[in-house]
Amino acid sequence: MIPQEAKRELAAIVGPKGYLDRDEDLALYEYDGGVDMARPEMVVFPQTSEQVAAIARITAKYGIPMVGRGAGTGLSGGAIACQGGVMISFARMNRILEIDLENERAVVQPGVVNLDISLAVDADGYFYAPDPSSQKACTIGGNVAENAGGPHTLAYGVTTNHVLGLECVLPDGSVFTTGGKEVDLPGYDLTGLLTGSEGTMALVTKVVVRLMRKPEAVQTLLAVYDDPEDCGRTVAEITARAITPVAIEMMDGVLLRMVEEATHAGYPMDAAAVLLIEVEGLKEATEEQVEQIREACLGCGAREVRMARSPEERDLLWKGRKNAFGAVGRVSPSFVVQDGMVPRAKIPSTLRFIRQVSERYGLLISNIFHAGDGNMHPIILFNKRRPGELQKALRAGEEILEHCVAEGGSITGEHGVGIEKLALMRVQFSEDSIECMVRLKRLFDPEERLNPGKLYPTHKGCLEIRQPALRPGAILY
């Protein structure tokens, strides 16, 4: 419980309009699209790094837990206050502080929405490369915490490859900066360590990102298949031809039909799977690559390859992909999604395994994923009114992730461990590896007050307080 005195001190920092503490308001902050729910006792909306530091000092004084929050799209339970305490929303720290095109950098506050960076520099011919499918909503602070990826990270790399410096506040309120606009600074790469640490080591209050020059040409293809495993073979064939598309996205038939009904993107309703493939670069390069990719697709069993002939056609092809989850929600309000990684060559066998799991559990599982880098997103649909079905769906998901690890992959490629995958950390990492992570975390947060109960499978986990989000009518994702 936050003592009244502490509440008053916190309120004084952010002002009367800078916090929420009424139960009905707090309810909006108990959820991040994942399975778990927990309500903070107070949400504060700082506007400056100094305010964040002042808030941290007060929580230190009273021993109150803290959790940072961006847009709350994290899906793995990372942004919920599973031990109560104060939630620090970065919604009002949403300014782009500097755009430095000459040096291919921007400096932003953590609450800036991912897409807004690209929009701000679009007219000048630049963009910010990591593009999570949630990019219209998710924040850079959340991206840094999760080391977010996206469809186009296949060629360009993920958040950690594009974040060069941070300003951070430690749980005791002290402030430090890492990295900067420059690269190869001496010392340990704290920027790299903090990126992907799921908001458990420090609150990020400023981010230096890399900007890239927009490519002159983009070509987008849709390849249609009667057998999903042929998609996996196509990915291998494209790699073998030394082509690096910027994106290779796969959707299976189940998903395709849901998406088509919702978006009318023009996808074939009878297909077993499609690949959405994009190449970018010099005109000469993309023209050739598109030809080679078409050959690869047809050679691997595609029955048809369509090409977007205009930006409008391209947008239409992407529209289905980008709205996929919304489309699933129309059909089945309850689903869990995983984001396991497998080495590219293991995609066909993993798809087979997922089908077996689906049959064994009697649950519909549809697949949409970043096929180019082996990032599977099985969507497990279930009926939350049937007793035990949520547990069954969760168990099916875990089995799929265990398979990913056994194939040499990982339990998560983008969404992070959060609360959801705590138990699976031990499947992937040895005790010694986990211990090393925990000790590092404690160097930053010795009292374990910052985003407690996440990422590290220690005894202080949140699992025992797990309260699945089962509000009637709620979208479970």
């Binding site: 790399g157 420059e182 992937q428 090393c436």
Partner: protein, 380 residues
């Protein structure tokens, strides 16, 4: 002095645990090609080399990833990937002798980082052994990973001051079918930067953009401000570059030889100058103009990245240039030291406000300050 060359990761763990347990000061390395790099380190009680750990742990070319032990020579890694028309395009100096672990621990990289990134971008997973003899793993064999802390990032550039890198996993890139290099001389710095700026603002995507000042160009038999630009792709793409950048490109052997001279500039300079030193100045694309304008000693710059290497003939000159650079607010270190460094030399003059955390990390891994003490630019 005794040098231990463990033949397995278990033996490495045993060697570290035993040495640390006995309070021995350890010098850790691969082939020790970069002994002058980093900082003056006191004489060790025991030397541990990973050079006998040279297995390819896993390589399926279809995945564009490879896992190798730390002692594998980097050149060998490149040769094996090359057989499948793939590459780990880090271009580290000391190419012939350097081990994978040494390249990563020293964070050495080269010209093609403009397009492909540096160690921190190409390393996707790692196993390292702590002084307690524990094997810790981070990341994996997939190109994207959000599970657990990315501890491999700590090891990249750590100069062996935290733990011993045992296995490194890289993402590889397909080798472009053709490659060309354009080397143009300019008589003034302003002209050279104007040409670079035009390139950066164009939609062209060079693999490498290096700039040598006249003193550096002279050392490789060239003159003026030398802008060296490498491009890669299909023949149609090469045609496009020819239209945009002119016909004066080199390819094949002479292209490889030019880049070899640039890549090996550092080792060749050090061999010729026992009391010489090299500064690494981390700047920005625009800041590099000031850096190159202010220093007349040879400079090789990654002009598409913002890092400049300045080559100073003797320790005194190096110390003066470092002090001057720091005075101007540049982020500089003395990357390579004179063979006999002057007393009191501090290779890393101005650590930032994150240094206290770095010290804590060092203490966590190495409370007795036994592992490569001082090797991280005299500070850690």
């Amino acid at each position: 002095m005794e040098t231990l060359r463990p033949k397995s990761i278990d033996e490495l763990a045993e060697a570290l645990r035993e040495a640390a347990g006995g309070g021995k000061r350890i010098r850790l390395g691969g082939n020790f090609t970069k002994n002058r790099m980093g900082g003056p380190s006191p004489a060790p009680d025991v030397v541990i080399s990973t050079c006998e750990l040279r297995r390819i742990v896993e390589y399926d070319p279809r995945d564009l990833t490879i896992s190798v032990e730390a002692g594998l020579p980097f050149a060998e890694l490149e040769r094996i990937a090359g057989e499948h028309k793939q590459m780990a395009p880090l271009d580290p100096p000391f190419y012939a002798g350097a081990t994978v672990g040494g390249v990563v621990a020293a964070n050495t990289n080269g010209p093609r980082r403009r397009l492909y990134g540096a160690c921190r971008d190409l390393v996707i997973g790692m196993k390292f052994v702590t002084l307690e003899g524990k094997l810790v793993s981070s990341g994996g064999m997939v190109v994207k990973n959000a599970a657990g802390l990315d501890m491999a990032k700590l090891m990249v550039g750590s100069m062996g001051t935290l733990a011993a890198i045992a296995v490194v996993n890289f993402r590889l890139a397909p080798r472009p079918p053709a490659s060309r290099t354009y080397a143009s001389s300019f008589s003034t710095l302003a002209e050279a930067f104007a040409a670079r700026d035009a390139l950066l603002r164009s939609p062209l995507q060079p693999v490498a953009i290096d700039l040598l000042n006249p003193a550096a160009a002279a050392r490789i038999g060239r003159q003026g401000y030398l802008l060296v630009v490498q491009v890669g792709g299909s023949e149609a793409v090469m045609e496009r570059y020819a239209r945009e950048l002119g016909r004066a490109a080199v390819e094949g052997e002479s292209e490889a030889e030019l880049w070899r001279r640039i890549r090996e500039f550092t080792p060749e300079f050090l061999a010729a100058h026992p009391q010489g030193a090299i500064l690494r100045i981390s700047s920005t694309l625009s800041g590099l103009k000031q850096v190159m304008g202010a220093i007349s000693a040879p400079i090789v710059a990654r002009a598409g990245t913002g890092v400049g290497y300045a080559y100073l003939d003797d320790a005194e000159q190096a110390a003066r240039t470092l002090a001057d650079a720091t005075e101007r607010g540049w982020k500089a270190v003395m990357e390579f030291l004179p063979e006999k460094p002057p007393a009191g030399l501090v290779p890393w003059p101005a650590p930032g406000d994150d240094f206290a955390i770095m010290e804590k990390i060092k203490r966590m891994f190495d409370p007795g300050h036994l592992l490569n003490p001082g090797r991280l630019y005299g500070r850690l």
